[in-house]
């Protein structure tokens, strides 16, 4: 019964979305207020109905209703409750429902918080957002309906892929979708502004929080996924340049570019058409990501069981939205006149450089991801483009970005002298070079990745410190002024420092990982780097829905025991799948990562040990970036900007923002 209610709610939501797509758009064109006013309650209703549908599906998973085909395929009664719940979106149909739920959630939020928007713009934004929802509702109902029943319900389910039964991964998709779909809001604003034919500073201010939120969610989602890959897949890699990973990374890069260029629109009324284009492309890359995952066009470790029909649907959705938006863009972009004037050397130019580097690096990832397809279709070559290519072709852009970031971020608006702006940074630059040089001198190899990474990390973090000190000005009470800085400034500082920490972590891990593979006998110690390991025993253990072989190891350094490590080799009988559970001793300096393999003929066990320096810096840096975004999001400017009256008042107080 609950299932049927959910199914019914889904279809109702689809119908409401159609109304919300058409009526407010006509209303905005004709200036009929009653028609425009339809959008707000419709957005709320759409969200409520979709939430009911999603809740019904989740309920079916929670009570293990195997009469539902989807639940039977992806769940099992013995599965822990957390994974029953996360199983709701651990499959194609359910994840599409989550996707559309988030589309409607953002639509509803725009309706609730958008009371300060001009009525026509608001009606159009909600109509465009609803058009996206319509496309995906149709996709779900006609090709991937999660509510289909089985004639004879089986006794038990087929279990969720054991690799996905993990707390890190349980929350990876929701965050990623919040990010992907959050960009739909920027897209809707861009298209609405094109229809409206008007982009001004206020538009930049409205778009930025949505982009910022999407970027924060994407950051968290990507970091969770990468962390999961690190501890779950069993060889300690954190990023594989897999098509699906790239699919989430490209929107992240463009969202980062977009939230910087929107600053220029907001503060200086320039870069308007570029910002609109970025908003369209960022969501476009989200759709490309969905397409790559669902169509099976590119082979990937992540792809769901995919079928071509669904791929064609998503391709059509993508062609419609991208094609439509880009046509609209070419028709209207010319009418967007830039107002701000600025010199070649200025904060504006620095932000343009940021955008160039981010957009071009996104382009490199895109070309690399699609190249196997292009080469096969046009040049008759079946080839692979793997991590070595991306590491070589992508990394230089990030190095450049890290190099110019601290200088760009202290550059004054409008007109600047590069030397004068960068002068306060001279000491930290020398210090950062020294850090890199020290790393070079201390390492055993001659690689440059590690030293460059540490240099960039030090440069970015110390650059942020100098910038913050500068912001306090001169004279007494500098500490007080520091604490009173707007949250947006703190957000910027924290996020930039986070980027530095992540860069250093990635470089350190890539450059200085040590590994050791051996057959270990019980109670015979061996050493890896400065550490000593002993395999004490190997036990058979039983989990809720798996059996495991668990090694018990002692990790010690200079004869002092540091930790007990318990790597497992699990077997999930229902899914007939083995997995490895690495044992990791986490530390800020390094992780010790141990994996147990098979027993050998001589009674010993295969043990892989890795010493992975600075790994946790990657996630700490990601967390800082997300935190920076959240701080910025909580800035007074965005909160106050909600009401039209409040905004007008603020503009009077702060004429700088309206220049």
């Amino acid at each position: 019964m609950i299932t049927e209610l959910g199914h019914f709610a889904l279809i109702l939501a689809f119908l409401v979305a159609i109304v919300q797509m058409v009526v407010p758009l006509i209303g905005a064109q004709k200036r009929w207020h009653s028609w425009m006013a339809v959008a707000e309650p419709a957005a709320g209703a759409q969200f409520a109905l979709t939430a009911v549908a999603f809740g019904a599906l989740m309920w079916a998973f929670v009570v293990s209703d195997f009469s539902l085909r989807l639940v039977w395929l992806n769940s099992h009664s013995a599965k822990p409750m957390l994974y029953k719940i996360s199983g709701t979106w651990g499959n194609h149909e359910g994840s599409m429902l989550l996707w559309v739920l988030i589309v409607t959630l953002f639509g509803a939020m725009a309706a609730w918080f958008g009371s300060g928007l001009p009525p026509t713009l608001r009606a159009r934004v909600l109509a465009v957002q609803s058009a996206i929802a319509v496309a995906f509702f149709a996709f779900i109902i006609f090709t991937s309906n999660p509510f289909l029943r089985l004639d004879t319900p089986p006794f038990d389910g087929q279990d969720l892929n054991p690799l996905l039964q993990d707390p890190g991964l349980a929350f990876h998709p929701p965050f990623l979708y919040l990010g992907y779909v959050g960009l739909s809001m920027a897209f809707s604003f861009a298209v609405a502004a094109l229809i409206e034919g008007r982009v001004d500073a206020a538009w930049g201010r409205w778009v930025r929080p949505w982009t910022l939120a999407a970027w924060v969610f994407l950051t968290i989602g990507i970091a969770l996924g990468s962390w999961w890959a690190y501890y779950e897949l069993g060889w300690g890699g954190f990023w594989f340049w897999d098509p699906v990973e790239n699919a989430s990374f490209m929107p992240w890069l463009l969202a980062a570019a977009l939230l910087h260029s929107a600053i220029v629109v907001e503060k200086r009324e320039s870069l308007k058409s570029w910002t609109i284009l970025l908003a369209i492309l960022a969501f476009g890359f989200s759709l490309i990501g969905t397409f790559i995952v669902r169509s099976g066009l590119l082979t990937s470790v992540h792809a769901f069981a995919n079928d071509p029909e669904r791929g064609v649907w998503i391709l059509m959705i993508m062609a419609f939205f991208m094609g439509g938006a880009l046509v609209l863009f070419t028709l209207r972009a010319g009418s967007m006149e830039a107002k701000g004037v600025f010199g070649l050397v200025s904060r504006e130019s620095a932000l343009v450089v940021n955008n160039l580097l981010l957009a071009v690096s996104c382009f490199v990832v895109f070309v690399g991801t699609m190249w196997p397809l292009v080469a096969e279709m046009f040049f008759d070559r079946k080839l692979s483009v793997g991590p070595p290519f991306f590491n070589a072709a992508f990394t230089p852009f990030m190095v450049l970005l890290g190099l110019v970031l601290p200088i760009g971020s202290v550059m004054p608006w409008k007109r600047a002298r590069i030397l004068r702006a960068a002068w306060p940074l001279r000491y930290v630059f020398v210090l950062a070079v020294a850090v890199g040089g020290l790393a070079y001198a201390m390492q055993t190899g001659r690689g440059l990745i590690g030293p460059i990474g540490l240099f960039l990390g030090a440069w970015l973090v110390m650059g942020v410190v100098v910038e913050l000190i500068q912001r306090t000005g001169r004279g007494p009470d500098r500490l007080g002024r520091l604490t009173r800085l707007p949250r947006a400034d703190w957000g910027k500082a924290v996020a930039h420092a986070g980027l530095g920490v992540t860069m250093a972590g990635i470089a350190g891990l890539t450059a200085w990982t040590m590994d050791d593979i051996r057959v270990a006998q019980i109670d015979q110690p061996w050493s890896v780097g400065n550490y000593e390991l002993t395999l004490n025993s190997v036990e058979e253990v039983r989990g809720p829905n798996y059996v495991a072989t668990m090694g018990v190891l002692t990790l010690s350094k200079n004869g002092r025991e540091i930790a007990q490590l318990r790597p497992e080799k699990r077997f999930y009988p229902v899914a007939q799948m083995p997995t490895t559970e690495a044992a990791i001793d986490y530390d800020l300096k390094r992780d010790v990562y141990v994996v147990i393999g098979d027993q050998q003929n001589n009674g010993g066990w295969t043990i892989r040990t890795y010493i992975k320096p600075m790994t946790n810096w990657i996630w700490i840096g990601s967390a800082l970036m997300a935190l920076g975004g959240l701080l910025s999001l909580s800035d007074r400017r965005f909160r106050v900007g909600a009401g039209a009256a409040a905004r007008r008042k603020e503009d009077d107080i702060a004429p700088v923002a309206a220049e």
Binding site: G237, V367, A393
Partner: protein, 150 residues
Amino acid sequence: MKRLALILLLLATPLMAVQPDEMLDDPVLENRARELSKGLRCLVCQNESIDESHASLARDLRILVRDRLVEGDTDEEAVAFIVARYGEFVLLNPTVSGANWLLWGAGPLMLLLASGVGMIYLRGRSKATAPGEEPLSDQERARLDDILRQ
């Protein structure tokens, strides 16, 4: 006994990438083999190098690479040997040849193009005058200088 060992070996589901029994005794050769393996794709997997893969085909390839190195092949010869048998698809790092120039050149070319367009835009912005904002007349400028000098 040897036969039994072989059967046991085949029955065991290999859960780890490189196995201790594959490894070469010479650490220099082993290191080279590991580096080469990282650049070779496991053909039956999805985007994994043979160094990371648990598949038995990847194991065969790893052993093949090591055999070639023991035979005295250089790194290039060993890779060429694998490519001759399994095709270009096995290379995770695409070669810079033929149409692949487009792949490798895409980034730098795009950066060049984008920098050009960006430069033109920035020059335009720095020369433009904001609407409703006239440049200072000579008189105004002289007066401004006076004020600033005080």
